[in-house]
Symmetry: C2
Subunit: 385 residues, 2 copies
């Protein structure tokens, strides 16, 4: 590592009962829009706590942000904000709600068609409304980063954006708000966090000793607490730790100054857009196959991963790599996320449309070496059947 | 871990030649005071680079901030800023210059006697001038935190302050600017960073798996690169990594939500104030003796430290703890920092005055359990002779 940039101004407020502190962090004269998804934050009392913490402020609500937040839905929030002259956004929910809120923040005062924000990856964002979040699902890391992914239903496109203007000002992480989550969502969160780290870590062996150690620390912690954090639905301490891990897995820290991959995510996005798999399900399917196909390009780092995360130091190189991939797959299965396309009712017929979508979205040179073509993706998907 | 707070808005800009980017990050109409220490930043060209990057802005200079920055000196800068109506501070140097600049930023508009800021640990700071830094010596972490330590010569008191208002807006870390440093200063920096991590890590075994892994990653990286980073005076990559490690060793991350010690630092401060040892020299002297004296209170974490940082997993508990302490001491010596009071010309006569100063400064209940009395400190210093 010869150079790096790091910037992350989001304040993290983690702990039971801390939603009550919202009042201290949002200006008293703010005109707030609270954005959320379905009824779960209504049913589990999170929204009531938020309402109470906001006191006498002007607050309006916008519900219906879906998993893989839809451009079409978010633009309705944009219209509401413009009409009602709201000036502060509070996302209450998981990564989809926070991602959607970031896009809304950037779109409200955008000059031109807001879809251009996503076509330009957010580089053309010059201002955004201030936003914050109350996180209910540890997974995406959106609560402490500047990124968002938005899907346009009309053309089944799932596109990312990044802008320093959409960092949440603060995020409240109350571990008890995760107690009512279905196991499937918590398991998804564990896989999502794990693969976020892998995308920033499992590339080439370089001179980035600290980023490597931190990435390995995140992976080791997920392996240590993952299963138990899923099964013990009311373990406050485990859920607090899981929230902290998910947060740091994608807040810019371990990725600063190092090569990154992201091919598993980009291939996975197409699977979600075409066939509706949960985001983490696509990662659990793609990653083990991707590592198998890329075992030579990633050989040295795979061996480091095998040794430091899975304590695999004996046997031939091939054996250690095989075993590391096997354990990765077994870990995903152990937290409840199946790792084969067949587990989701998909067969070889699903492959060709995915490759076409990759071409259509210009995703033809993926990975840390830029050499993962749609043809390589075909091999990966065939291995993942 | 059940709860934590984390907030760190400092932008890190690390890499060769990046001082030129100052212009982009400071407002064009800012009236800037550049604060620095002695002549080293003049001699090695850093100050010239800064001057050039600042273009046509109004810039004044204040030199003479000493190691262990003196209140008396800093108040001269405060007077200059008030007189010349300057409104932006740029620290160019190591931790002492940055610490001093933070105090100055808080003191300029402080209502009342600025010494009160230090007597209150910074809690009474309600506004501060914006500041940034150009770091030339990786050690204290001041470039990315909200803390400072200031010494008043008049009463040999060395006191800390903390305030979120004195985070640098950004810090430029150019690894080539460390090439001209004497080995003693680089070695001091390695020890300082190491002990910063230890103070936040080596306490009790709790349920903080990620903070532990990150702390261990920092320590392992220092052990891996420390000696070479000191001896290879123009190894840009090693120095870049050392700068990044020192930065993250004390930026609030590994200390979030966990018990902390800091007894080695507080005892060390008195040694510096009374006898003029470098800050890191005091840490190298005190820490091994402190761990020896506190081996029972810290037993479980010492064993974890022995296993994870030094790979000591065989032998009795006592043997592993002894060996971990021995290796810690050997590491400090290997980077050129002696670990005995005698190495600095001090004998048993130095102890009583230190204990008196601890009493005078109210430092009578140190450590993560608050049970390190001056009497315990006597044992530590006797072991450190």
């Amino acid at each position: 590592m010869l150079s790096l940039d790091f910037y992350n101004p989001t304040r993290i407020i983690l702990g039971k009962g801390r939603i009550a502190e919202l009042d201290r962090h949002i200006a008293a004269d703010a005109r707030v829009l609270v954005l959320y998804g379905g009824g779960s934050v209504e049913r589990n009392g999170t929204l009531d706590e938020v309402r109470q913490a906001m006191g006498e402020r002007h607050v309006q609500y916008f519900s219906g942000i879906e998993p893989n937040p839809a451009y079409e839905t978010l633009m309705q929030a944009v219209e509401l904000i413009r009409r009602e002259q709201l000036d502060y956004l509070l996302a209450v929910g998981g990564g989809s709600v926070i991602d959607g809120t970031k896009f809304v923040a950037a779109a409200v005062n955008f000059a031109g068609d807001p879809w251009q924000i996503l076509l330009n990856g957010g580089e053309n964002v010059t201002e955004a409304l201030p936003l914050a979040s109350v996180l209910t699902l540890p997974a995406t890391g959106s609560e402490m980063n500047n990124g968002a992914v938005v899907t346009r239903l009309a053309d089944k496109a799932k596109l990312p954006m990044h802008s320093d203007l959409v960092f949440p000002q603060f995020s409240v992480l109350d571990p008890t708000k995760t107690f009512s989550l279905p196991a499937r969502q918590v398991g998804n969160g564990v896989v999502d966090s794990f693969v976020h780290v892998i995308e920033q870590y499992l590339t080439v062996v370089g001179n980035n000793p600290l980023q490597d150690r931190f990435a390995e620390g995140l992976l080791q912690t997920l392996v240590e607490i993952g299963e138990q954090a899923v099964s013990e639905t009311d373990n406050e301490e485990l859920r607090a730790n899981l929230m902290w891990v998910a947060c740091l897995a994608l807040n810019g820290l371990i990725g600063a100054g190092v090569p990154q991959d992201w091919s598993t995510h980009l291939l996975g996005h197409e699977l979600t857009a075409l066939y509706g798999l949960d985001h983490a399900q696509t990662l659990a399917v793609v990653l083990p196959a991707m590592l198998q196909v890329r075992r030579d390009a990633k050989r040295d780092k795979l061996l480091q991963y095998a040794a430091r995360v899975w304590q695999l130091t004996s046997g031939s190189e091939e054996q250690r790599i095989d075993e590391a991939i096997r354990r990765t797959r077994a870990f995903f299965e152990a937290v409840g996320v199946p790792t084969r396309l067949a587990d989701y009712g998909l067969d070889a017929a699903c492959i060709e449309p995915v490759l076409q979508q990759l071409e259509a979205h210009g995703m033809t040179t993926l990975g840390e070496h830029g050499d993962i073509t749609p043809e390589v993706c075909r091999q990966v998907l065939e291995l993942a059947l």
